[in-house]
Symmetry: C2
C-alpha cells in the first residue's frame, strides 16, 4: 500500500444556512479544497461523499453524482460514491478515499462531507438524527440521542463519582476554542454557570452541552505521498485508519460508560500508524454531547477509565494543556452537520499539523488524531495523521 | 493489487415481503452467502452494504452496523460501511469491497445489498424511488423515473425507427427467464400481447415493462484469489471494475438515447479486465424498464447504437442466443429491491460462471458482465467476471 497525504482542505462556515442549498454547500467546500491543493480538477480520479441522511433531510438520494456534476466532475464521468454510517459518515468516506489511494486504484480523490439539516421542522430533525440509533428497539420506545447520552452521563457519575461540573466544563472549553475559529457556528465563550443553568435537553445535560443543528460541508483532497511532495515540502500523511462497529442499540452493549468502538478503532489506527496514544499532540473527538467527549478521552486512552472528570479539572485538554482536544470548537461550538463532521475534524487536524491554526495553534504538533462516531456508538472511525 | 474472487453467494426470494424486516432479509442473504462460501464468520474482516434509501423507506440510517450486529459481526467490532448511489448502490458496494480486498486492506469481506420498499404507501414509494433523480430540477416539475424513461423510449423510436413491439419483447424474454428462476419475484411467462395491452405506467411503456416494487437482499463473499483457491478449484474472479457518473438530471445530458455512464463504465471495466465486449458470454443489465435494457445493449457495445430493436427481433439476447441478457429474469421479473439489485446481478453471473444456473444455464460461459445503474443514468457500475 502507498502512503496517502492530504493535499488541501476546504470548509464552509457551519450554521443554519437558509440561503444555500445542499449542492451549493458541497461546491463551496469542494472547490476551496481543490484550489487549496493546487491540483487541476481534471486530475481528480474519484469523489467520495460522507452524508448521513440526505433522503430524510432533503428527499434526495444519489447525492454523490449530484455533487460531482456541480463541481464539473461529470464532464469526465468521474466516479462518485456516497458513504454512510450515521454521523460517522464523513470519517467512513475518508477511510474509503484513503483505501482507494493507498491501493493505487485512484491517484487523486476528493473526499467531502455535507449535510443540510435545517430544511425540516424541528421535531423532524430530531427524528432524523435518531435514525442513527435503533428505530425498532430504541426510537419506538421513545428514546432519542440526547436521552441515551444522558443515561450514559448519569451512569458515569454513579460509577466513577464524575461531577456534573466536570462534564459541563467541556462545553466551556469547546466554546472557548470555537471563539478562536472563524468557521465555527457559535464563536462565543460561555461560562460554567451559563452551561449549568441552560434549559435541559435531557437531564442532566443542558442545551449548551449538546451539539447544535447545523448545515455545512467540508472537503479534503487526498493523493499519494509521492505526488504530494510535488506540491508541498511539508505534507500531512494519514498514517493509520481504524474502523469499528457495535450494536446500534445501547442496551445490547456491555457497558453504559464505555464506547467500545472507540477503543477498538483507536487500537487499530494506532497499530497501523505505529504510534502510541501518548504521542498524539492534538485530537478532534466526537463531542456530540459533553459526556461523549469525556468518555472518548477515556476510551481513546488519553486518561484512565473513570478519570475523565479529574482530567477536565486539571485542564489537560485545553489549549496549552498536555493534549488539546477539539481545538476547532468541536461538534459543540464549530457545529455538527452530521456527514460533514468527520471531514471537518480532518480539516482542523490538517491545519494544526501544518502550523496554520492561527490563534488556536498547538505548538509543535506532529501527530494528530480524529475520532468520528455514529449514533450512540454504533460506529467509530479513527484517523492518525502526521506532519512529515 | 491482488486478484479478487467471489467465494460464495446468498439471495432471498424477491417479492413484497410483509412478514420479514429489513434486518431479517439482510441476515438471510448474508448467512446463506457465508455458509455457501465455507468461510468462518470470525474470518470476515469487513461488511459493505449497498442500500439506496433505508432512511426514507424504514426511517433507519446507519444500517451497516445494524446488519453487522444481526449477523454477529459486532462481536469482533468488524467494520461495516454503507454505500449509496441510487439503485446503483449494490454495484458501488461491490466495487468498494473489491477495492478493499484488492488493496490488501481486508482479506475477506461480505458485500450485501438490501432494500425494504413495501412498508410505505404506494405514492411514497414512487416518490422515494424518484429520490435518485434530480429533486430540484426534475421531481419538483412532476417528473418521475417512468416518465423520464418513457421520454427516452419515444426518442429512441423517433431517432432510430425502433418499434414499440421490439421494446416490449424484452419483457417477454425477461419473464421467460424469470419463469426458470425460483428466486424470481414474478416467475411466470407473459406474451407480447400481455405486455402491449397492460395498463400504461407512462406511455409508451406499460406496467409489464417496468421493474416492480420489491423487498429483498443478496450477498457475496469476496476474498483474494489465492485464498479462494483453498476453498474451490474453480473460482470466479472479478477481472474488471468500471464506475462512471453523469448529471442526475436527464436534461443536462447530451443525448436522450444514450446513457453515457454505461459506455464509459464498460470501457473502464473491460480495459481493466483486458477483455473485449465480444468476449462476454452472459450479462445482467439494469432493465429498470424495457427501454433501459435496449439502450444498455447498445451502450455496452453488444450491438451498434440504434440497432437494439433489430437485435431483439433476432433474439440474440435470449437464452441460446449470441449474448444472453438477464438470464435471472432481470429487474423486470426477478425483481428490483434497489440497493440489492447490483448484488443480485453478481449472484446470477456467479452461478452462470460456475455452471450452476440450472435450466437457465448458458453453455460454456467463461466471461460474465454486470451492469448496475442509478436513477435515469446518473451512475453506472460495471463488473467483468471470469471463471478461472
Amino acid at each position: 500500500m502507498r502512503e496517502v497525504a492530504i493535499l488541501g482542505t476546504g470548509i464552509t462556515r457551519f450554521r443554519e444556512i437558509w440561503d444555500k442549498s445542499f449542492k451549493r454547500l458541497g461546491i463551496e467546500a469542494g472547490l476551496e479544497a481543490i484550489q487549496d491543493s493546487g491540483i487541476q480538477g481534471k486530475n481528480i480520479d474519484a469523489l467520495f461523499i460522507g452524508n448521513m441522511a440526505s433522503g430524510l433531510f432533503i428527499r434526495q438520494e444519489h447525492i454523490a453524482s449530484l455533487v460531482a456534476e456541480e463541481v464539473g466532475l461529470t464532464l469526465n464521468n468521474t466516479p462518485a460514491i456516497r458513504v454512510e454510517g450515521g454521523d460517522a459518515a464523513g470519517g467512513l468516506a475518508l477511510a474509503q478515499g484513503f483505501s482507494a489511494v493507498a491501493a493505487g486504484i485512484y491517484d487523486v480523490v476528493v473526499v467531502g462531507g455535507a449535510e443540510k439539516m435545517s430544511d425540516l421542522p424541528g421535531a423532524s430533525i430530531v427524528e432524523t438524527i435518531a435514525s442513527s440509533i435503533d428505530q425498532e428497539w430504541e426510537c419506538f420506545f421513545g428514546a432519542t440521542q440526547p436521552s441515551l447520552w444522558a443515561m450514559m452521563a448519569r451512569r458515569h457519575m454513579h460509577d466513577y463519582g464524575t461531577k456534573r461540573e466536570q462534564i459541563a466544563k467541556i462545553a466551556v472549553k469547546n466554546h472557548n476554542n470555537g471563539s478562536l475559529n472563524p468557521k465555527a457556528q457559535f464563536p462565543f465563550k460561555v461560562t460554567l454557570e451559563n452551561v449549568l443553568s441552560a434549559p435541559p435537553v435531557c437531564e442532566p445535560l443542558t442545551t449548551l452541552e449538546a451539539a447544535p443543528i447545523s448545515d455545512g460541508a467540508a472537503a479534503v483532497v487526498l493523493c499519494s505521498l509521492e505526488k504530494a511532495r510535488e506540491y508541498t515540502s511539508e505534507p500531512v500523511v494519514i498514517k493509520g485508519v481504524g474502523l469499528a462497529t457495535d450494536s446500534l442499540a445501547l442496551h445490547d452493549r456491555m457497558s453504559l460508560t464505555t464506547c467500545k468502538v472507540t477503543s477498538v478503532a483507536a487500537e487499530r489506527a494506532l497499530n497501523m500508524a505505529g504510534v502510541n496514544i501518548k504521542d498524539i499532540d492534538v485530537a478532534e473527538v466526537h463531542d456530540s454531547f459533553t459526556i461523549s467527549e469525556l468518555m472518548a478521552m477515556e476510551d481513546l486512552g488519553f486518561v484512565e477509565k473513570g478519570k475523565g472528570g479529574e482530567a477536565v479539572d486539571d485542564g489537560i485538554t485545553k489549549l496549552g494543556g498536555d493534549i488539546p482536544i477539539n481545538t476547532s470548537g468541536g461538534l459543540k461550538a464549530r457545529g455538527n452537520p452530521l456527514g460533514a463532521t468527520g471531514i471537518a475534524q480532518a480539516v482542523e487536524i490538517y491545519h494544526q499539523l501544518k502550523g496554520k491554526a492561527d490563534s488556536r495553534q498547538v505548538a509543535d504538533a506532529r501527530f494528530g488524531l480524529t475520532h468520528n462516531m455514529g449514533g450512540s456508538g454504533g460506529t467509530a472511525v479513527i484517523h492518525v495523521m502526521e506532519a512529515v
